[in-house]
Symmetry: C2
Subunit: 728 residues, 2 copies
C-alpha cells in the first residue's frame, strides 16, 4: 500500500534539487548549501532536505503560499501582454486575475522554475544549476505525476488517433514546447496516410520511379510544410502562446566586448560587434567542409568496400565479409559525429550570441548539416555517382581489396570486375529500404531499450556495491537508512528519478525532420516509404510518451509557439526534394538504366532541364499554396482577431468618449460658421485688412453660397440657350 501511495502522492513537492557535494571541500559545500537554502527561502520557497545517493542530498521545495507566486505570475502576464502574446492587459487585482485565468500545471511549474533560476535582480533566487557558484546543484526537476502518466499511456496506446484534446493535455502537463513536438508528429502522421495509400497504389501499378508519384509526393510534402505553419499559428493561439518567441531570453554565457549605452533603452549594456560575430561565423565554412570530408570519407570508403565485396570479390566468406562496412560505420560514425557535435557546440559558443534563440538557431543549423550528411550522403552517392559513373569507377575499387585480402584464396578473387560487369540497379532501392525501414526500427528500439538496460544495469551495480560494502563490514550504509518509514517508498522513488536523464525534445524533433527528408528526397525510389513511416510514427508517438514518463526526469515545461529552426530544415528538404525527385525519375525511369535502358545514354541537358522545370514548378506551386493557405481561416486565428478587436474597440471607446465632450461638428457647422462669418464680416468692415478675409466674406453661410451657385447655374443656361437659338 505504501508503494502505491508513493506512486500517487508527490507530497506537495514542486521541485527537487539534487545537491552533489562529493567533489567539493566539506566546509565549502556546507556553506554553499546554507546559502542555497537561504536564497530559496528568500523568494518564498519552503525547504526540506533528505539524504541522496552517493555524496548528494535531495532538497525538496514548495511554494510557501500562493501569495508568493502571484507576483511572478502577474509579472509574467504583463510581460506577455507587452510583447503581444496576450491581447489585453491582465486585471490589476492579482486575486481576480488568477481567478479569471487559473494557472495550469505547466504554467505553475514554469513560473516556479523561473522563480528559482531567474537572476536576483529580476526577483528570482538566481540558482543556476551546474553553473558558476551553483556548480553543486546537479539538477533541478519536478516530480512525475505517476497517476496521470499511467492514464496517459493507457489512453494513447489504446487509440488510433490523437485528438486536439490529447495534445491540450500534454500542453497542460508538460508545457507548450513538448506539446508542439507531439502536435507536429501527430500532424505529420495524419498527413502521411495519404502518401502511404497513394504510394501503395503507385508501387502496385505505376512501376518504378514513377513521375506521377514523384509529382504527387513533392506536392504533398509542400502542402504539409505550408499547412503545418498554419497549424502552428492556430495552436499558438489555442494555447495562448502566439508570439511568445518574441520574448527574447538573454543568454547568460554571452560575453560582451565592451560596455555601451544602449541607444534604445539608455541603459549600459554589454556590446559585441556584429562584424566580429560575422567573422566568427565564417568558421562555419571550414566546419562544414571538415564535417563533409570526415563523414564523406567514412561513408564513401564503406560504400566502396561494400560494392567491392558484394559485386567484385569472389572469394570465400562473402556472406560474412559484406558486414565489414556496416561494422566500420557502426564503430566510427558515433565517434566522428560526437567530435563534430562538440565542434559545433564550441563554434556556436564562440559565435557568442546575445539571445538564446539566436544560439539555438545557429546550433540547430549545424546539427542539421551533420545529420544531413550522415543520413543522406550514402543514398546520394548511390544515385548520382554509383549508377551514372559506376562503370568508370568500379574498376578502381580494387584498392579496397586490402580489407578482404586475408580471406581471399587467390588474387583472381580480388581482381577488378569482369568486362561484363554492370551496375546493380537494385542497390539504390535496397539502400532506401534500409534507411526507411530497418534503420527506423533499430532506432526506435534503441530509444526504448538502451535506456532501460542502462537503468537496470546501474541499479544492479549499485545493489552489488552496497552488498559488497555491507560484507566489508558495515561501512557506507544504505542512504535510505535514516528515512522515516512512512516516507521511505516516496524517497526511494525520488532518488530513482534524480538519477534519470534529462529529456531533450529537439532530439526527437530532429529525428522526425530527418525522416521527412527521406520521404521528400528519395521516396520516389520506393513508394512504400510512407507506409513504413506511418507504422513507425504511430509507435514513435507512444514510445516517446513512455520514454518521457519512465526513462526521463519530468521535463521543465517551456513555452514555444513553433517547432523553431527545424521549420527551416523542413522547407529546405521540401525544396531539395523537388530537385532530387525529378533527377531520380529522369535517371532511373527505366529501372535504373536511364531513359532508354542504358545508363550511358543519359543526356545531361535532359537531366538539367528536368531539374530546372521541376524546381520552377515547385517555386510556382509554393507561391500558390502559400497564398491559398493564407486565405484559410481557423478557430484559433479567428479567436485571436476577436480578442484583438475587442481590446481595440475598448481603447477606441475609452479614448473617443473624450471627443464627444467637444461641440459636435454637425451641429457646430451650421451655427459656428454663421456666427463666425458674421463676426468676420463685422471685423472686415472695420479694418478691411486682407484680400483673404474679403474673399471669404462675399458669401455668408452655406445658404448664401447655395443661392449664388443657383444663380450661376441658372444664368449659364440662359446665356448658352440664346446662342443655340441663333444658330438654329
Amino acid at each position: 500500500m505504501a508503494k502505491s501511495q508513493a506512486q500517487h502522492t508527490n507530497m506537495d513537492v514542486d521541485y527537487v534539487i539534487s545537491y552533489r557535494f562529493a567533489k567539493t571541500d566539506k566546509a565549502a559545500a556546507i556553506a554553499n548549501f546554507e546559502k542555497l537554502v537561504e536564497a530559496l527561502a528568500s523568494v518564498g520557497l519552503q525547504t526540506e532536505v533528505r539524504n541522496g545517493e552517493s555524496g548528494s542530498v535531495l532538497l525538496f521545495l514548495r511554494v510557501a503560499s500562493d501569495e508568493h507566486l502571484f507576483g511572478e505570475v502577474y509579472r509574467s502576464r504583463v510581460r506577455d501582454w507587452i510583447h503581444g502574446v496576450r491581447a489585453a492587459a491582465p486585471p490589476k487585482e492579482t486575486r481576480e486575475a488568477l481567478e479569471a485565468e487559473p494557472l495550469y500545471e505547466a504554467e505553475r511549474l514554469r513560473i516556479i522554475y523561473q522563480l528559482i533560476t531567474n537572476p536576483v535582480s529580476e526577483g528570482g533566487a538566481g540558482i543556476t544549476p551546474k553553473d558558476g557558484e551553483w556548480e553543486n546543484v546537479e539538477s533541478l526537476f519536478a516530480l512525475h505525476d505517476h497517476a496521470y502518466n499511467k492514464d496517459w499511456i493507457k489512453k494513447w496506446t489504446s487509440s488510433y488517433f490523437l485528438k486536439t484534446e490529447d495534445l491540450d493535455d500534454i500542453r497542460n502537463r508538460l508545457g507548450e514546447k513538448i506539446a508542439f513536438y507531439f502536435a507536429f508528429t501527430q500532424s505529420y502522421f495524419t498527413f502521411l496516410l495519404f502518401p502511404a495509400a497513394f504510394g501503395t497504389v503507385a508501387w502496385l501499378f505505376f512501376g518504378h520511379f514513377s513521375a506521377i508519384y514523384g509529382i504527387v509526393n513533392a506536392l504533398w510534402c509542400l502542402v504539409f510544410t505550408e499547412y503545418w505553419k498554419h497549424q502552428e499559428a492556430d495552436l499558438g493561439v489555442r494555447w495562448g502562446v502566439r508570439n511568445v518567441s518574441r520574448i527574447e531570453q538573454k543568454r547568460k554565457d554571452f560575453q560582451s566586448m565592451k560596455h555601451i549605452t544602449d541607444p534604445v533603452t539608455g541603459e549600459t549594456v554589454g556590446f559585441f560587434p556584429s562584424a566580429t560575430r560575422l567573422q566568427r561565423q565564417l568558421w562555419q565554412i571550414p566546419f562544414v567542409i571538415v564535417a563533409a570530408l570526415l563523414l564523406g570519407t567514412l561513408i564513401t570508403t564503406c560504400f566502396g568496400i561494400e560494392v567491392f565485396i558484394s559485386e567484385v570479390y569472389g572469394g570465400p566468406l562473402k556472406w560474412l565479409l559484406v558486414f565489414i562496412p556496416t561494422g566500420i560505420l557502426t564503430a566510427f560514425m558515433p565517434i566522428i559525429t560526437s567530435i563534430l557535435m562538440k565542434m559545433a557546440t564550441q563554434l556556436t559558443e564562440y559565435e557568442n550570441y546575445e539571445t538564446q534563440s539566436a544560439y539555438d538557431t545557429s546550433l540547430t543549423q549545424k546539427i542539421f548539416v551533420i545529420n544531413f550528411i550522415t543520413s543522406y550522403l550514402g543514398i546520394f552517392i548511390t544515385a548520382f555517382v554509383y549508377v551514372p559513373f559506376g562503370k568508370n569507377i568500379v574498376p578502381y575499387l580494387d584498392v579496397f581489396s586490402v580489407a578482404v585480402r586475408p580471406f581471399a584464396e587467390n588474387e583472381k578473387q580480388l581482381a577488378g570486375p569482369s568486362a561484363d560487369w554492370t551496375i546493380n540497379p537494385d542497390r539504390l532501392r535496397k539502400q532506401v529500404i534500409y534507411f526507411t525501414v530497418t534503420a527506423q526500427v533499430v532506432n526506435l528500439g534503441m530509444e526504448l531499450i538502451v535506456p532501460y538496460l542502462k537503468r537496470r544495469g546501474l541499479s544492479k551495480y549499485k545493489e552489488m556495491q552496497s552488498e559488497r560494502a555491507a560484507k566489508n563490514g558495515g561501512g557506507a550504509p544504505d542512504v535510505s537508512a535514516n528515512d522515516p518509514p512512512e516516507d521511505a517508498a516516496f524517497l526511494k522513488r525520488v532518488r530513482e528519478e534524480s538519477e534519470l536523464d534529462v529529456y531533450d525534445v529537439t532530439t526527437d524533433l530532429r529525428e522526425m525532420v530527418m525522416q521527412f527528408g527521406y520521404l521528400s528526397l528519395f521516396s520516389v525510389v520506393w513508394p512504400l516509404t510512407a507506409v513504413s513511416f506511418v507504422i513507425n510514427d504511430w509507435l514513435e508517438l507512444r514510445a516517446d510518451a513512455i520514454k518521457i514518463c519512465v526513462e526521463m526526469q519530468r521535463p521543465t515545461p517551456w513555452r514555444a509557439d513553433t517547432i523553431g529552426p527545424w521549420l527551416d530544415s523542413l522547407t529546405f528538404l521540401t525544396w531539395l526534394g523537388s530537385i532530387t525527385s525529378s533527377a531520380l525519375v529522369y535517371l532511373f525511369s527505366n529501372d535504373g538504366l536511364g531513359p532508354d535502358g542504358h545508363p550511358a545514354s543519359i543526356a545531361l541537358w535532359a537531366l538539367l532541364l528536368s531539374i530546372l522545370l521541376s524546381e520552377h514548378a515547385f517555386f510556382f506551386l509554393r507561391w500558390t499554396i502559400r497564398i491559398a493557405i493564407s486565405k484559410l481561416d481557423s478557430p484559433g486565428l479567428q479567436q485571436e482577431r476577436r480578442e484583438r478587436f475587442l481590446v481595440r474597440k475598448q481603447y477606441f471607446d475609452e479614448n473617443l468618449s473624450q471627443l464627444k465632450l467637444m461641440p459636435k461638428m454637425a451641429d457646430a457647422g451650421g451655427k459656428i460658421s454663421r456666427e463666425s462669418l458674421e463676426e468676420d464680416a463685422r471685423e472686415g468692415s472695420l479694418h478691411q485688412t486682407t484680400p483673404e478675409s474679403r474673399f471669404w466674406n462675399r458669401q455668408r453661410g452655406w445658404r448664401e453660397t447655395a443661392a449664388v451657385g443657383k444663380d450661376f447655374i441658372e444664368r449659364h443656361r440662359e446665356e448658352s440657350t440664346p446662342v443655340e437659338k441663333k444658330e438654329l
Copy 2:
C-alpha cells in the same frame, strides 16, 4: 503686381471643388449643389462659390475653425496608435496633442480630404467625386503653393544630389506616397552611379558580354532591391508612417454576395466567398494568354518585317522602308495596350476585392504583365530566338515580303536570304541601346512636352472660341466677367488649375521599375546602360517635380509606408536577371556567336547548367544579403525601438507599481515561512492529518534545513573515510 500676388496667396483656401452641371437637368443640378454645400457646412467647412469654365462652378472650401479639425485629427491619431503606426496613444487633451505634434501641411490636407470624402457614418461629409449621387463633383483638389513650388524647382535644378531633408520637404507638402516615389528614384539614382562607373570600365576593357560585368550587375541589383526594403522601413519611421499599410481601407465598390455576422466583430458585414473570388481570379490565365498573344503577335510581326527589310530585302527605298515596323508599332501598340488595360481594370473590378490595397495589388500585377511584354519581349525574341535559331527561321521571313512588294523592282529583291546569310550579331546591342537610350529620352520628352502642348493648344482653342463667340454677338461672355477685380488673377489661376490632369504616382513608379528591368535583365548586352540611366534619372527627378508643379493639379497627399506591389516586381526582375544574364553571357560570350565563335555549337546542357548555377548562386546570395541587411541598424529603426521601449517601460512601471503594495517576497520569505511553518507544525501536532503535512514539518524554516543538510554532508564524509582507510 496683382498677378504676382495671385501666385503667392491661396486665399486660405483648403480645397476647391469643380462642380460640373452642364450635363444635368438644371433643377436637379441646383438641388444637388445645395445639398453639397449643406453637407460640407455640416462638417464645419466654410464655402464660397465662383463661376467656373464652361458649365461648371468652383466651390472654395476652408475649415471654419481649427477646432473642427481636431476631432478628425484625434480620431486619426488614435486609429494610428491602435494599428501600431504610433507607439504611444495621443494625449487625450486635443489642444495639447496638437501643440506637442503640430500638423504638417500634407497631414492637414489629408485630414480635410478625409473629412470631405469619408462616409457620414464615420464623421465625414460623404462626398465621393464622380461617383453616384456626387457625379457632378468633377474634381476635388487643393491649390498649388506657387511660392514653394518655385523654390523647390530652383533648389532641385541647381543641386546634384537630393538630401533626405529635400525628401522630408516633399513629404511635408505632397504626402508620403509621393515622397516615397521620389525617395525610391533618388535612392535608385545614387545606386546607379556604381554600375555606371563599373559599366564604363567593363565596356572599355572587358569586351562584350562580360561574365564579370554580369555577376557584378546581378549582385548590385540584388543589393539595391534588398537595401531599398531596409530604407523603406527607415523612412517609414522617419515620417511616422510605418505600418500605415496595415490600416485597411474598405473599397466602396465592393459587392457583397450576402450578409453574415462577422465572427470577429459581431457586426453584420458584407461577405464574398474566397472560393468564388478564386474562380474569378482564374480568368487571369486567359487574360495573360490574350495579352501575350496580342502583343506578342504585334511585336513578332514587326520584328519579322524589320529583319526581312534590313537583312533580306535588296530593293530601293530600303532606308525608308525600315521604318515601317516602327510605324506599325507606334500606331497599334497604344491601341492594344489601352484595350488590355481596360480588360485588366474590368477583370480586377470583377475579382471584387474587399480592400483597396488588395485591389491595387491585383491591378498592379496585371499592369506589370502588360508592361513586361511590351518592354522586354522584343529583346527576348532577338536574344533567344533570332540569334540561336535565326539561320532556320529567316528563310521563312519572305512571308513579310508583302509589306514591301509595291516598292520592289523585281522578285529577286524579295527572295529569301542568300546562302551565306548569317545572323547580325549587332542587332541585339542596337536594340538594347534603342530601349535604354532612345526610348528613355523620347519618353522623358513626351512626359514634359506633350502635356505642355496640350495645355497650350487648349487655351489657344478656348481663346479662339471666346473671340468667335464675341464676334457672333456678345453671347456666352467670359466666365470671369463677374469676378471681383481684386480676385480676378487668383480666380484665373484656379480655373486653370481645375483643368489640369490628376497626377498618378504609380505611372512614374512603373516607369522606374521597368527601367530597372532593362538594367537587371539585359545590361550585360551593353554595359553603358547604367550611364544612360544616370543621366536620364537625374533629369527625370527634376522633370517629375516640374510636372507635378506645372502640369498637374496639386495631388491629394496620401500616406504610404512602401512603394507597394512594385516591390514584388523589383524582386521578380532581379531574380529573372540572374537567369537572363547568365544565359546571355553563355550564348554571346564570343561576340554573339556562341562560346566557340559559331552559333551552331551552342550546347543546351551548358546553357542550362549556366542558368542553374547562376540562379542558385543568386538564391544563396539573396539569403546572405538579406541576413546581412537585417543586421544593419539605422536611425529610424533605432528611434522606433526607443519609442516602443519607452511606452513599454511606462506600461510596465504603471502596472507593476501595484505589485509593490504586496508583501515583498524577500522579506516575507524569512518571516512568513517561519510563522506559517510554526503554525503548520502546531496544526500538524493537533490533527496529524496527511503524510504531506508530516513530510513538510520535519524541518522548520530554512535554518533547520541548512542544519540537517550540514549534518548529512558531514556524516557522509565520516562514513566514507573509514572505508577508504581500510582499503589503504
